[in-house]
C-alpha cells in the first residue's frame, strides 16, 4: 500500500458512525475465533457460553465463525453438540433457537495436535474456506486456552503456517490466559516468544477480573465523583486490604497448582491489578495507552515491605470442617505430593512509594478453603484525630471504611459511626450499602463477554500489557525467593481465615484483618 493510499485510508470515516450516537451498540466486524484447548473447563464453562451470550445480545457480526482445535476425533456436528451443551448449561441469557441456528452455522472443528504441521495446515484450510463461505474476511483471533508450556509451540506453528500473518486490511490476534510465566525471567521469555510471532498490539492477555463490572466501577467511583478521591491518600487512609478468598479446595487441580501456589496464581495478576486500579493517579483520559501509563507508573513505585519474615505470611490448609462439610487437607488431595510445600494461602505487605500513598501499607491476601468465597478491596480510614466524646461513648466505634465488593454481591459498603438511639450519647459502627444488582441490570454481563468482544473490536484497555506483567513479577519475586529458602507454609484449618502468622503479621503494626 502506498503512503498516499495509507493517508486516504486513515482519513476515511464511516458516515453512519457518530460519537454522539450512544444508543448504537458496537458490533464486531467479520471474524473467526479459534479456540485451542476447546475440551477444557474454561472453554466449556466460560468461553463458549460467553460467545453465545454475545450473539444473543446481537453483538457478534453476521459473518462469524467459531473453530475448535483439539486432539479428539470429532466432526463439526460433534463439536456443535459440545458447544450446545455448554451453552445450555452455562449461558447467562435465555436460549433462543434462531440465535443458536445462526451461530451454529459457523462452527468448525479441526482435529490435530500442537506438534503436527499438518494439523495447522488443516486449520489454515478451514479458516481459508470460512473466509470464502462465511465472509470472515481473513480476521482471526486465536484463543490459547491451553497450559502455558504449549504457548511457544503453538505460536511457532501459527507463525510457520502463516496463520499469524495478517493480509492487508485484516487482523490476526492472540489471546492468552494466566499464568504469564512463574517469575520475572520466565515471563520475559514467554513475552519474547509471543512477541516474536505477534506484535504487542495484537496480544491480549486475559485477566478476567478486569472484565468485571465492579472492577471497572473502581474507575467510575474514583474519577467520576467528587466525594471519594480527596480522601484517598495517606492523610486519611490508614491501610488498604485487598482480599480474594475462595472456599473451594484443590482436589483434582494438583497437576496445575502444585509448585505454583497462591501468590503466583492470584497475587501476581488479579490482586496487583486491583491494587494498581485502586492506587493509580487519575489518567489523562480513558484511552488504553493513558490507562496503562498510570497503571505502569504505580506498579513501578510499588515494592514489598521488609523484613519479609514479618510482613508476609503463607499457609497450607489442613483437614477441617468447611461450611458443614468435612474436607481433607492439601497433602491428602489427589494429585499432590505428601511433602508438597505449595502454599494455598499467601499474604504480603506492599508499600507504594508515591506522595499520595507513602506510609500506607497495602495488605494483599488470597487463599483456598477460607471462610467463604469473596473478593473485596477495603480502604480503612484513620480514626478522627480528636473525639469530643468520653472514651466510653466511642468504645464500639471502629475505623471508617470504604469497601468495594468485587464478588459476590457486587457493590460498595461505607462504614461509619452513628449514634445509638437512647438518652445517652453512644456511637457505634453502621454500614451503608450500595448493591449493584438492585440498582442496575438484573445481571451484568459476564467478564468474558466483555473481554472477548473487546478482543474482536481490537479495544485493548482492559488487558494488561507486557510491562505490567513484568513489573508485577518484579514486585512479587523477592517474596517468592524468600519463601523458597525459608521453611514451609504454616498450616491452617480449612474453613478459617488463614494461618496464625497472617494475623500476627497485621498485629505487629496494631492492625487487624477485616473479616470480609
Amino acid at each position: 500500500m502506498s503512503p498516499a493510499n495509507d493517508r486516504a485510508e486513515a482519513a476515511w470515516r464511516n458516515p453512519l458512525r457518530d460519537k454522539r450516537d450512544k444508543r448504537m451498540p458496537r458490533i464486531a466486524g467479520p471474524c473467526a475465533v479459534v479456540i485451542f484447548g476447546v475440551t477444557g473447563d474454561l472453554a466449556r464453562k466460560k468461553l463458549m457460553p460467553a460467545i453465545y451470550d454475545l450473539a444473543n445480545r446481537g453483538l457478534l457480526p453476521p459473518s462469524f465463525a467459531l473453530v475448535g482445535f483439539a486432539r479428539r476425533d470429532w466432526a463439526d456436528e460433534d463439536f456443535g453438540k459440545i458447544v450446545y451443551d455448554a451453552v445450555k448449561q452455562h449461558a447467562r441469557t435465555p436460549f433462543r433457537q434462531e440465535v443458536w441456528d445462526r451461530l451454529a452455522e459457523g462452527f468448525r472443528f479441526v482435529q490435530g495436535t500442537f506438534d503436527d504441521d499438518e494439523s495447522f495446515e488443516r486449520l489454515k484450510d478451514t479458516l481459508h474456506k470460512l473466509d470464502i463461505e462465511r465472509g470472515t474476511s481473513g480476521n482471526h483471533a486465536f484463543y490459547l486456552s491451553i497450559p502455558p508450556k504449549s504457548f511457544p509451540q503453538v505460536c511457532e506453528q501459527l507463525s510457520k503456517s502463516g496463520l499469524a500473518d495478517k493480509p492487508e486490511g485484516s487482523w490476526s490476534r492472540v489471546v492468552i490466559e494466566k499464568p504469564f510465566g512463574h517469575d520475572l525471567k520466565s515471563a520475559e521469555e514467554l513475552n519474547a516468544v509471543v512477541n516474536s510471532v505477534f506484535p504487542e498490539s495484537s496480544v491480549f492477555r486475559i485477566d478476567h477480573y478486569l472484565g468485571k463490572e465492579t472492577v471497572q466501577n473502581i474507575l467510575a467511583l474514583r474519577f467520576a465523583n467528587e466525594m471519594f478521591e480527596p480522601v484517598l491518600n495517606s492523610h486519611y487512609v490508614d491501610s488498604v486490604q485487598i482480599t480474594m478468598a475462595e472456599d473451594i479446595g484443590l482436589g483434582g487441580r494438583g497437576g496445575y497448582y502444585d509448585g505454583v501456589g497462591a501468590a503466583r496464581d492470584v497475587i501476581q495478576n488479579h490482586l496487583l491489578q486491583l491494587l494498581a486500579l485502586t492506587a493509580m493517579e487519575e489518567p489523562v483520559s480513558f484511552s488504553p495507552s493513558e490507562l496503562q501509563a498510570e497503571k505502569i507508573k504505580v506498579l513501578s513505585a510499588t515494592r514489598l515491605a521488609e523484613p519479609l519474615d514479618e510482613t508476609t505470611s503463607r499457609g497450607q490448609y489442613i483437614a477441617g470442617w468447611q461450611g458443614g462439610e468435612k474436607v481433607v487437607g492439601l497433602l491428602d488431595e489427589e494429585g499432590f505430593s505428601k511433602t508438597s510445600t505449595t502454599e494455598t494461602f499467601a499474604a504480603i505487605t506492599l508499600d507504594v512509594d508515591t506522595r499520595r500513598w507513602a506510609g500506607v501499607p497495602f495488605y494483599l491476601r488470597t487463599g483456598k478453603r477460607l471462610g467463604r468465597r469473596v473478593t473485596e478491596i477495603a480502604l480503612l480510614f484513620k480514626r478522627a484525630p480528636h473525639l469530643p466524646f468520653d472514651a466510653t461513648m466511642t468504645d464500639e466505634l471502629g475505623q471508617n471504611a470504604l469497601v468495594i465488593r468485587v464478588q459476590p454481591d457486587e457493590g460498595i459498603t461505607l462504614r461509619f459511626g452513628s449514634k445509638v438511639p437512647g438518652h445517652i450519647m453512644e456511637v457505634r459502627d453502621v454500614s451503608m450499602d450500595f448493591s449493584y444488582g438492585s440498582a442496575f441490570a438484573e445481571e451484568s454481563p459476564e467478564a468474558y463477554e466483555r473481554l472477548i468482544l473487546d478482543v474482536l473490536l481490537g479495544e485493548p484497555s482492559l488487558f494488561p500489557v507486557n510491562a505490567e506483567v513484568e513489573l508485577s513479577w518484579k514486585i512479587l519475586d523477592p517474596a517468592l525467593e524468600y519463601w523458597a529458602t525459608h521453611g514451609k507454609p504454616d498450616p491452617y484449618e480449612a474453613g478459617t481465615w488463614g494461618p496464625e502468622s497472617a494475623f500476627e503479621m497485621l498485629r505487629r503494626s496494631g492492625r487487624e484483618w477485616r473479616r470480609p
Partner: protein, 303 residues
C-alpha cells in the same frame, strides 16, 4: 400482590405503599427512576404495565400509570390500584384512575408519588401530546418517550415529532431500529471504504421506524434516500458494492448481502415495546442523533 383502593386520596395511597412494603418485605431501595405512564385506553393499560415491568428488571423503578376514568361525571374522584411483588417485576406499580374534573390535573395527583432525587420519565404508549415537554405530565420529566407506531397515522405522527421536539424527547420507533442501524454501520466499516451514494428504505407503509431510519440516513449520506412501500429491506449503494439488509416482514432472521461476498444470516426479530423501553431508559440525556434523524425525514423522497 394487587390491592384496590377505590375512591381514595394520595395520602392514603402513600401510606398503603409503605405498609405493604413493610409487611411484604418487598423492599427495593435501589430504584433508579420514576416512570410515569400516561395512556388513554384500557387496552393499552396491561400491555404498558407488562412492558414497564420487563424494563424494570434492568432499571428498578416506580411505575405510575395515569388513566382517565369516567370523564363525564362532575364529581372529581381518584381510584387507585397498587401492585407489588410478583405482579410488579422489580418495581412497584401505582395505577391512578382519574374521573371528572380531576382528569385534567393528572400532574397534581402524580407529584406525591415521585421518588425523591431520582429522574422522572414520562411515557405515552399510544396517543402523545403535540408538544410532550409542555404537557403537565411531560413537565415533570427529564425524558419524554412517545411511540408513533401506536398513533392513528404513524407517518404523520413521526413527522410531527420535529415540531414538538424538546431536548429529552425520544420515540420508541427510533429504538426499534437500533440494531438495524448498528448492523448497517458495522457493514459500512468494512472495505471498500467508499462513500455511500444512495440509499433505499422499503417496508410497510405504517412502520414509522423505517421513516425515521430513512431520515437518519438522509442526514448522513451525500445522495438521495428513497422510502418505498414493499418488502422489508434497507439498501445502501457505494460505487463498487451494494449492501442490503432484508428480512421477511414477520420473520426473525435477516439476510445481509454485499456484492461479491457470501450472504450472511443474522437474527433480527422485530423489537417489542419492552426491549425498546429498556433501551430508552438506559440513557436519560438528550438524544441528538434522534433529533438529527427527525430533521432528515424531510429530505427523504417518498415514492
Amino acid at each position: 400482590m394487587i390491592v384496590d383502593l377505590p375512591d381514595t386520596n394520595t395520602g392514603a395511597i402513600n401510606k398503603k405503599i409503605v405498609a405493604m412494603r413493610e409487611e411484604g418485605g418487598a423492599i427495593t431501595l435501589g430504584r433508579v427512576l420514576t416512570l410515569v405512564v400516561s395512556t388513554d385506553s384500557e387496552a393499552m393499560l396491561e400491555e404498558s404495565i407488562d412492558a414497564a415491568n420487563a424494563a424494570s428488571r434492568e432499571h428498578p423503578c416506580r411505575v405510575i400509570v395515569v388513566i382517565p376514568g369516567d370523564r363525564l361525571t362532575t364529581e372529581a374522584r381518584l381510584d387507585a390500584q397498587l401492585r407489588v411483588g410478583r405482579d410488579a417485576g422489580a418495581n412497584e406499580v401505582v395505577v391512578l384512575r382519574l374521573s371528572g374534573p380531576l382528569a385534567n390535573h393528572a400532574s397534581s395527583v402524580v407529584t406525591p408519588f415521585l421518588l425523591p432525587d431520582t429522574p422522572v420519565v414520562t411515557w405515552w404508549p399510544d396517543l402523545a401530546p403535540a408538544v410532550p415537554a409542555q404537557d403537565p405530565l411531560g413537565k415533570l420529566a427529564i425524558r419524554r418517550i412517545t411511540d408513533a407506531t401506536n398513533g392513528s397515522d404513524p407517518l404523520a405522527c413521526i413527522k410531527s415529532r420535529l415540531n414538538g421536539y424538546t431536548a429529552g424527547d425520544t420515540d420508541l420507533a427510533w429504538s426499534r431500529v437500533t440494531y438495524w442501524r448498528a448492523l448497517l454501520a458495522a457493514a459500512i466499516d468494512q472495505p471498500p471504504h467508499e462513500p455511500i451514494t444512495s440509499a433505499l428504505v422499503s417496508g410497510l407503509k405504517d412502520e414509522p421506524a423505517l421513516d425515521i431510519l430513512a431520515g437518519w440516513l438522509a442526514n448522513l449520506i451525500d445522495g438521495p434516500v428513497t422510502r418505498t412501500t414493499g418488502e422489508l429491506k434497507v439498501e445502501l449503494t457505494r460505487p463498487s458494492e451494494t449492501v442490503t439488509l432484508a428480512r421477511p416482514q414477520t420473520g426473525v432472521t435477516a439476510v445481509l448481502s454485499r456484492t461479491g461476498k457470501p450472504d450472511a444470516l443474522v437474527p433480527l426479530a422485530r423489537r417489542e415495546a419492552k426491549e425498546c423501553l429498556a433501551e430508552d431508559l438506559r440513557r436519560l440525556d438528550a438524544d441528538e442523533i434522534y433529533y438529527d434523524a427527525l430533521t432528515g425525514i424531510d429530505k427523504v423522497q417518498y415514492v
